[in-house]
Symmetry: C2
Subunit: 511 residues, 2 copies
């Protein structure tokens, strides 16, 4: 009686529709698919070295040029071009760790980077928000929080995320502080942040230090990091160099990603695009080692092609798939982890195109043993738009990959020859003890797909996947649970943000 009353009072909290999918570090149980031969890897390597030795890379920042000059590189102060010979490049990139652990505030959410591991990271750098009720509009802080809550609720997403969406309703001078604060308090997953110049990046490092209690600056246990884009072709700008300097000085993680679209930022052939990408990524990684040897760096690849009809970037293409296989072949040659991108597409809505282009990104990323799959969820329209509807479409495939890459168990128990004999020809196995013992766990339990018959589906509203996804993300956000954070840490974090907001009043920062 008392029990029944108490049950009524404390209404059972609703469970997240993603609750059944565990968090785990995923290892790929087969060798990578290699699109080119080892001899061809060496040909691309040689060509890249030729670029670095004879053409050079522009570093648009005096501090960077000083560092290169001091190291003995051939630096032209007028053109800002830095030429480095292959011995120096190979020596420097050899200092970067091959594998490392990206620490999360909750140690159970630590992420292993490198080897045959693959980590899934959410959307970054998107400007607009869109869902089925909300037409495309500039992102807001409330949207950013929605995406953080989705990422925290999902076992398949390994990172809280970085610039999930740009919150236009927050002042630029302290936008990064509010974003970092939200990521560190609303989630307990690994923390990515922006790398937009020295000030913003240094704040991310300092906030992470408060939360983690130390800075894990041995290079093998970073607590924060971010994406650096080369301003391809052949160029690192001052904003990105500021980010590289600030993260490398603290020995935090850098994801060095040239922005190469074949036919625009590089010659049109994919062989050339991945070679130029290789030169740019290696140069950036070498620079970070110059700043602080042992800084954990991920070799980033974003190479895809331009759509020659519209001049727009094309995502989820066969040529982009090549780059997702050849890129990590190059990274493995240098003993570096590789980053690719998983949710890429150019569709305006979460339709069939969005889904097939996304799978044309995710599959090559997984098969090529990319160690870090960025932009895994929410992307639409070439990365201009973040959509929680698309997030649910992507989440289904990510969860399927988690299952696909799990062990395929072969044992007398799973072979079950005795059950085949017992049922014999023409029978069915629905009711056997073997089936009954396993029916709720043996197969991946889908979150979005429907397998109802057509009549039932029609009676329930004939909803397509996008419509169901729109309901699903709202359910995920409603059932979100905020992870605990020590009160003293929270207080210190609050104080830091308040003080820095004062410091930065009126300071013009990178957007």
């Amino acid at each position: 009686m008392a029990k029944r009353t108490s049950r009524r009072r404390a209404a059972k909290p609703r469970v997240s529709p993603l609750a059944h999918i565990p968090f785990r570090n995923i290892q790929i149980p087969f060798p990578p698919v290699e699109r080119i031969t080892q001899a061809e890897v060496e040909t691309l390597h040689d060509a890249s070295m030729q670029i670095l030795e004879e053409i050079g890379i522009a570093y648009m920042d005096d501090e960077a040029l000083d560092l290169w000059e001091k190291a003995g590189a051939d630096v032209d102060r007028t053109s800002q071009m830095v030429k480095v010979d292959r011995t120096m490049i190979m020596d420097l990139i050899g200092k970067a760790p091959s594998t490392f652990t990206w620490r999360a505030r909750n140690p159970q959410h630590d992420v292993i980077i490198g080897g045959n591991y693959i980590a899934f990271s959410p959307n970054g750098g998107t400007v607009f928000y869109q869902d089925l009720d909300t037409e495309r509009r500039p992102g807001l802080m409330s949207d950013y929080e929605v995406f953080l809550k989705i990422n925290q609720s999902s076992g398949v997403v390994h990172f809280a995320g970085e610039q999930l969406i740009v919150p236009h309703d927050v002042e630029v001078s302290y936008r990064h502080l509010d974003m970092g604060y939200a990521a560190l308090t609303l989630t307990d997953k690994a923390f990515m942040s922006q790398a937009h110049g020295r000030i913003i990046t240094k704040d991310a490092v300092d906030m992470a230090k408060i939360v983690f209690g130390d800075d894990y600056s041995d290079g093998e246990r970073p607590v924060v990091g971010g994406v650096i884009n080369a301003s391809s072709p052949l160029r690192y700008d001052d904003r990105m160099i500021g980010g590289m300097l600030a993260y490398a000085e603290a020995k935090q993680a850098l994801i060095m990603t040239p922005f190469v679209l074949a036919g625009a930022m590089s010659p049109i052939t994919m062989a050339s695009a991945v070679t130029q990408q290789n030169a740019e990524a290696l140069s950036g990684i070498a620079f970070c080692q110059l700043v602080n040897p042992g800084t954990p760096c991920i070799y980033g690849g974003f190479a895809t092609n331009i759509d020659m009809k519209t001049g727009s970037p094309a995502f989820g293409t066969p040529e982009g798939a090549w780059a997702h296989l050849v890129g990590p072949q190059m990274a493995r040659y240098y003993g570096l982890p590789f980053r690719g991108s998983g949710g890429l597409n150019t569709s305006k809505v979460a339709d069939a195109q969005a889904a097939y282009e996304t799978l044309w990104s995710m599959w090559p990323v997984v098969l090529g043993h990319n160690n870090f799959m960025n932009h895994c969820i929410s992307w639409l329209d070439g990365g201009l738009v973040a959509s929680p509807v698309k997030a649910m479409v992507d989440m289904e495939s990510l969860a399927m990959f988690q299952r696909f890459l799990a062990p395929f168990e072969i044992s007398p128990e799973t072979l079950a020859i005795d059950k085949i004999a017992e049922i014999g020809p023409g029978g069915h196995h629905f009711g056997t003890d073997h089936t009954q013992a396993r029916y709720s766990t043996e197969f991946y339990a889908n979150i979005l797909s429907t397998r109802q018959n057509q009549q039932t589906w029609a009676l329930q509203g004939a909803e397509d996947a996008a419509t169901r996804a729109h309901k699903l993300w709202q359910e995920v956000v409603t059932t979100y649970e905020k992870p605990a954070l020590d009160a003293a840490i929270l207080e210190e974090l609050d104080a830091y943000v308040a003080k820095r907001k004062e410091d930065l009043k009126g300071v013009e920062l990178y957007r």
Copy 2:
């Protein structure tokens, strides 16, 4: 002046939107992804042999039982169970060719089966038709012709197709004659047909003989063939055995495909499902060799899981993906070509779910080196529905695979280091002679995807992929061109069909 007039008179025929995609036999340029070890392959082999030796397979046909008995198998006439020891099984399947060429009426459309080749075959066995203007309804002969025209127009589809859709408006007693006639006259691609009992199958062989002039019965150049499904678990029924006998007697192609849904027709574990599938497929292939040694057989895999929430088959799942990798590992162990399925999904409409489940079928099929990918286009709702809208969604990915599997060219010309030097840092490559010479051919040119900016897309009607696909398939059908056929052959074919329609009046055939 005269030229202008003549131009006006002879309006230029509209070109198929698929015209730029060539027909070619596709080779996979990297080794297969192997989900289990070679030792595990042998474990599954042993377990399968145990099934064949100790449990047996039911053959529900006296002629089949006679053949097995004569060969020395252990036949139980009451239960119809046939037990065969592994020596006999291995000896028989060793007689099947490892590779063969499935001849097409147009020799340029011949299809190579086996090795590292992969062929794309359209939907089969679907009952309902659906497009964006037409709600789901039973298929008609006119629908069947639409699908034939689409397949003929597409360079990526290797087969005319078999039972693309059931034409319910044609009398059952001569339905197969009208279907075969349409396939052989509206297309010049490789001819698949039904294998539903002796009469229907024999008619397909005889019609093919008329068109091809001979029967190519050396086993390495079949001109017709079809899919045999084991009525799993552990059973071949009289209908399928009739098909096996008629095709094998003419040494035409048989695609031996157990219908195993884990948790229903086999134990729930995928290890068990693929082992049972192996036993059933090998038994059927061995039987065909018993009928006629050297008959070309494709080892078919359809294993996937049951959705334990609804009891429906689940397609495009991680467990189905395993089967698409492990199945061909088994087939390679026996030196046999393997058939998987590419367009599988359970969605009711051509939405995101249809697309991601489809890519969750196509990618594993390609990666596992399935040699024959069936149901590549048009499938919806677990194969109940054929939709030309979905056909266009699938065609885009098939064309992308054709490109993805093409050579990745590395040469001084494609590396273009001189162009990287010429443009230097911060420039762009749009206008270089290198780009200009290649811009129309370097990248896969999409047929369905849009990469317009959002404003243009919105102005043009904000059409999602399905809406565009609905327009596209109609354009494909409008621009379809009927392939030429020798008048004498056509006359003979007409006479055959007319005569057989008389012969079969009132005869009850398999539907």
